[in-house]
Symmetry: C2
Subunit: 197 residues, 2 copies
């Protein structure tokens, strides 16, 4: 980092490792750290180390937790499992307050182009959970893109033969948006999946 | 932070203290920290503590340094002092590679509305530097806004009687921009300060 003294240059460099942070933003963040009080900076640094050391995957669902088994796995209806790509997706689903079951986080989707095979994501773990019994339905909530769809289809092909109901999140025009601005693939899905009212 | 386990919620909360970072961005940053390796997270946390503990004000100019006196004060022409509001402004000036003198960082501008009086910014320190002798010119490079102009005028009124040349950065149409998009105050300044070619 030219023009900066070493400690500031190093801090700016660390900030640029965060997603979407360029040199200018990193500089703004670094200067704000320097303007923090000693204890604020300490608390910031500690929260990073603390999160990194305490947070790991739930031994059941693979979502982030600071316990062995996460709160959702401990308290909710384990007969219905919602399969998602990433921990972020669990957060998004939870915000909707509609789903009462448990999750299974794959930590990726099958993508031969990127060298991600079914063995690289948490599919075995899902099958093991199902093998324990009691699962009635699996909702595939991977993203509606090529990899997400392919992963949903692949997992479905493994689970359906076990006599378990496999469903997929509905796709269509987002609530509150205008049809005018919806892309053509979304519109065709919305037409195909239309419901009688 | 609802919906998050404590270590993640705490980290998100820390990130929202950075300038311009909202809940969504802070969440993205926090998740990226959790996806870092142990040593990456450690290096990030250390760079924060390191910057905070090593960086302080240069005892002469008030810019950030990790030494007693900064490199600029040590090596450059001390007969001409450029007065700026913040350390960031030094960086911006240095990028232009035009100025060969030293700086004086005020760490603020006079702003009665915000309760900032001349005693709250580093004006005494500037006068002390001038009292040591050898200063021929002071360039006022505070921002061209109400507080910046008022601060420039106030400091100028203290320094001019000492027989020192006081100048102000030129204002006008920015290079590379279009006159069409310049605001009317900039255009009137550009007309008043027009130069014969």
């Amino acid at each position: 980092m030219s023009g900066y003294i070493e400690p500031i240059g190093r801090l700016i460099n660390e900030f640029t490792k965060l997603p979407g942070v360029g040199a200018k933003t990193a500089q703004r963040y670094a200067y704000s750290v320097i303007n923090m009080t000693e204890s604020e900076a300490k608390s910031f640094a500690e929260s990073i180390l603390n999160a990194k050391s305490k947070v790991h995957y739930c031994s059941k669902c693979g979502n982030y937790t600071d316990e062995d088994v996460c709160d959702i796995c401990k308290t909710r209806d384990a007969s219905i499992i919602c399969v998602v790509k990433e921990p972020k997706d669990v957060l998004a689903m939870e915000k909707a307050r509609e789903f009462k079951g448990v999750y299974h986080v794959l930590h990726g989707v099958i993508s031969p182009m990127d060298g991600v095979t079914p063995n690289d994501i948490r599919i075995k773990e899902l099958l093991a959970r199902i093998a324990e019994g009691g699962v009635k339905e699996v909702i595939m909530a991977t993203n509606p893109d090529v990899e997400g769809e392919a992963t949903a289809m692949y997992i479905s092909s493994l689970i359906k033969p076990l006599g378990i109901k496999v469903t997929r999140l509905a796709h269509g025009i987002p609530i509150g948006s205008e049809i005018e601005y919806a892309d053509e693939i979304t519109i065709s899905r919305a037409i195909l999946d239309r419901k009688e009212i």
